[in-house]
Amino acid sequence: MRSVSLTVNDLPHELELEPRELLVYVLRERLGLTGTVVGCDTSSCGACTVLLDGESVKSCTVLGVQADGAAITTIEGLGENGALHPLQDSFHKHHALQCGYCTSGMVLAAVGLLAENPSPTGDEIRHALEGNICRCTGYQNIIDAIEAVAR
């Protein structure tokens, strides 16, 4: 076991983790933040995307112990006081989600993208989301939702 300090959605946590524990399971099973989900086991789908020190990462490819000292934002911590973050709101308005399983990761990947590139083109958005798979929407409304916020 290793002692790890994490700040998740602005709350500090001191945890004793097994070295092999993936960050996604630390969030889901130790901290109860089930908005972050697992969609694959090959780091392909992006459903588990969170922000680690402001950058979007796939939490299934980060060990809990590697995140020691980091500040993490999950989907639960994105909006303020229960309100939707502008990207969440835009996803809603553009019907950019159907089953919603990829949505947490998709929204956080979009937050990460706009932090790096505040006004991407539609094409740049498509490329930035290459690591996030959605099986329901055919992506178009997701692209539109992000573009609307980027403008």
Binding site: C40, T42, C45, C134, G138, I142
Partner: protein, 789 residues
């Protein structure tokens, strides 16, 4: 079959029905508050680990679970034999298409023989997920490898290894449909064409992996099963049969479910296993597949070899269609495995008027994961074959594919087709006209010629798919006639609560389709509630006892219509109460969207609901409360149709295909929510285009799944698709009062044919007449190399 009686379409579009209401499902999904099965937990839960065969075909000589039991966190471990006495019956197959179908026993854990890579051979129960995974590695299984067969045609050959020895053959069944003098029509035909197509095996890839959570109450023998299922009602009745737990003691809950596409329209070994392990250990049990595990344990789709022939006049009028399918069932029959290709049985003449029709389908066992429903289920395959072969006919006659289609369209409705069913309504010319206009068809043909003339190595191709689909599954009597074991009805309940809100109980069980929004629109519109005053409950057999669940584009076309009729019953009863309260004759009451107008006064439905609840003054003999259920059995399938155009660029030097534009014109009848309808089409198109260009589950000769994870099986990302260009025409269905037809599968049904017709069209002058799906750069390049040499 005679045409079902026509029903007046009764809804007015544009008030709430037909408008772009934003989804009420979204907020919790966007804020990470969805209730996924994998979120469920209870103290004392054990986690299942499933030991799976690494061989596609092997005798199980011994299973030693002792090393797993020695693991400190392992509670129990059993081989298939150890757990065999738990099974009351096989895993269910609800569709045995012929009397002489070979239907094998299918135990959730194999005992003597493993028949595909992934077949379960032992099960672990451990106190943590990680321990279960570790212990799976500790079980020692001794196998004797057996010869393997993976190709459906090879499996039918003399001397092929037998997946199930007891049948003496790998043939599961052969099913026929014959109408008209097909032999004569072919003999007399001025022109015939015969094509052979391969329907690539696909992996559905709902983004939420399958998961199961069971809580038992040992003293009462009750079990609650949370499952990532599209079919909680079907799961309850069938799992009762597998485990012997009475239906009355089994509650199945599908909470938020992250996509299905048919893969969760099934009843799986792990659901049954979790129940019996919970029964044995008297503890809560949980199992969640990893994605790679899902690739070898969750059903696959398609896997057909299609031979299709057309007989036609010299002008191109098609007189007869003959189809022969050889379909891989996989190693066992899952819930509707043998029936899937038969869902296309009536559609191999597409939207064309033909006289003779012959269809034969042979299902074949192979050492592979069982196939079953994947978005479209039988109908994309049929649409693909007829739309491709019509293009082949056009090429042979040196005519434009538009012209040949126009020559053959069905134009009078209702239309009883040669195959025997009746298409309710449609206007195929209108769809095609709009698709040609929006795509700039003639201009694109011009550009194509210009490029050819200039010797451009990047060819332009334009492909059509004018389709009709058979949706809204299904009239129960027809399902019975084709030997499906359940009905095709759907149930809806409306409960007008005393304080002014309404609950809807929906037997249809959504997993992304937005039923709560659409159903609320219907009820709000018909009964005068605000959209937000309507709550839709679904997916729990204890809350919604009646249901046939969600698949086959049926939810709106069957369940939505049930809701309409339930609303009618509410109005009927409320009218009586309103008349009584106003002390006037019922005939003097006029109902307009939730308000009952009498000669001198009026009452709202909410006021009537309150009066029905207090029951202080009700007409004599009328029961208190305002609640109505309607179980609707549709008189016919529904028949959405449309015309899709794909425009591709094919690089003849690299073989790369780029989908430049995709124009879809769809007629899905009345639209309740255009935004949701467009979303359904977007998603279906993405899956269909993926079948055409990207996805294929590949087995090697030893039965190893080579595309065994999301790295090697290409589920497309946002970069692989263009912007979808959607347009609609609307011919309401005359068989239901909403005029709806269904939209869930449209995109996936129409698009593979449009894309592949475009690819072949691009390369036709190079001498290419067919390329197997998916048209990967390598495959296109090799095809070109072959014709060049």
């Amino acid at each position: 079959m005679t045409a079902p009686a026509e029903v007046e379409v009764e809804v007015e579009v544009g008030r709430i029905i037909g408008t772009r209401v934003e989804r009420k499902e979204d907020k919790k999904l966007l804020q990470g508050q969805a209730q996924w099965v994998d979120n469920m937990h209870q103290p004392g839960t054990v986690f299942l680990g499933v030991v799976r065969s690494p061989y596609a075909h092997a005798r199980i000589k011994s299973v030693n679970v002792d090393p797993a039991l020695a693991h400190a966190d392992v509670v129990a471990a059993w081989s298939g034999a150890d757990i065999a006495d738990e099974w009351e019956g096989s895993l269910p197959c609800a569709w045995i298409p012929t009397e002489d179908t070979n239907a094998p026993e299918h135990k959730p854990v194999a005992i003597d023989k493993a028949r595909y890579v992934g077949d379960a051979v032992a099960v672990i129960a451990a106190t943590t997920r990680a321990a279960a995974e570790d212990a799976v590695e500790l079980v020692e299984v001794e196998y004797e490898e057996l010869p393997v067969v993976v190709d459906p045609e090879a499996a039918l050959a003399e001397g092929a290894p037998l997946v199930h020895e007891e049948f003496g053959t790998n043939r599961c069944y052969t099913w026929n449909l014959e109408a008209g003098e097909v032999d004569r029509l072919f003999a007399e035909a001025a022109v015939t064409v015969t094509e052979r197509y391969r329907q690539n095996r696909l992996i559905p890839n709902a983004i939420e992996p399958r998961a199961v959570f069971v809580t038992p109450i040992p003293a009462s023998g009750e079990f609650t099963l949370w499952s990532t299922t599209q079919v909680p009602h079907i799961a309850r009745v069938t799992l009762s049969g597998v485990t012997g737990i009475p239906e009355t003691k089994l509650r199945v809950i599908a909470p938020d479910v992250g996509g299905g596409f048919g893969s969760k329209l099934n009843v799986y070994a792990e659901e049954a296993l979790a129940l019996v392990v919970a029964r044995r250990l008297e503890r809560a049990v949980k199992w969640t597949e990893t994605r790679s595990e899902g690739y070898v344990s969750t059903i696959h789709g398609r896997d057909q070899i299609q031979e299709i022939s057309l007989a036609a006049t010299a002008e191109g009028k098609i007189t007869a269609v003959r189809t022969k399918l050889t379909v891989g069932m996989g190693a066992y029959l899952q819930l509707v495995t043998p029936g899937i290709p038969l869902l296309g049985a009536w559609l191999y003449a597409g939207c064309y008027d033909v006289e003779g029709y012959s269809f034969e389908c042979t299902g074949v066992f192979t050492n592979t994961v069982p196939t079953d429903a994947y978005r479209g289920a039988g109908r994309p395959e049929a649409t693909y074959a007829i739309e491709r072969v019509v293009d082949a006919l056009a090429r042979k006659l040196e005519k434009d594919p538009v012209e040949v289609r126009r020559l053959n369209f069905i134009r009078e409705f209702p239309a009883t087709i040669a195959a025997g069913l009746t298409i309710d309504s449609g206007d195929y010319d209108a769809c095609l006209d709009l698709a040609l206009e929006k795509s700039g068809y003639d201009d694109v043909r011009g550009q194509q010629q210009t490029r050819r003339a200039a010797g451009d190595s990047k060819r332009l191709g334009i492909g059509l798919s004018t389709y009709v689909e058979m949706c809204g599954l299904a009239p129960s009597a027809i399902l019975g006639a084709i030997r499906y074991s359940a009905g095709g009805w759907e149930a809806a309940t409306i409960r007008c609560l005393p304080a002014g809100t309404a609950q809807v109980l929906s037997g249809a069980t959504p997993h992304g389709q937005g039923h709560a929004t659409s159903w609320s629109q219907i009820v709000a519109d018909l009964l005068g509630y605000d959209f937000d005053e309507v709550e839709v409950l679904h997916g729990d057999t204890a809350v919604v006892p009646l249901g046939m669940d969600t698949y086959g584009s049926r939810s709106l076309a069957v369940g939505g219509v049930a809701l309409y009729y339930a609303a009618e019953r509410i109005i009927e009863k409320a009218k009586k109460i309103a008349a009584h309260l106003m002390q006037v004759d019922e005939a003097a009451i006029d109902h307009v969207r939730g308000v009952f107008h009498g000669p001198e006064a009026s009452l709202t439905l909410k006021e009537v609901a309150f009066a029905a609840w207090t029951a202080h003054s009700l007409p004599e003999g009328l029961e208190p409360g305002l609640e109505a259920t309607f179980v609707y059995d549709p008189p016919n399938f529904s028949w959405p149709s449309g015309a899709h155009v794909a425009i591709v660029e094919v690089d003849t030097e690299t073989g790369a295909v780029e989908l430049l534009r995709y124009i879809a014109v769809d007629d899905v009848g009345t639209v309740i929510n255009p935004t949701i309808v467009e979303g359904q089409i977007h998603g279906g198109l993405a899956q269909g285009v993926a079948q055409a260009l990207y996805e294929e589950a590949i087995y090697d000769d030893d039965g190893n799944l080579l595309t065994s994870n999301m790295v090697t099986y290409l589920v497309p990302s946002a970069t692989e698709f263009p912007r979808w260009e959607l347009h609609r025409t609307e011919t309401p269905s005359p068989t239901n009062p909403l005029g709806v037809k269904g939209v869930g599968e449209t995109g996936a049904i129409a698009s593979p044919a449009a894309v592949m017709n475009a690819v072949v069209d691009a390369l036709a002058e190079d001498g290419i007449t067919d390329i197997n799906m998916p048209a990967t750069p390598e495959r296109v390049w090799r095809a070109l190399e072959e014709v060049r040499s």
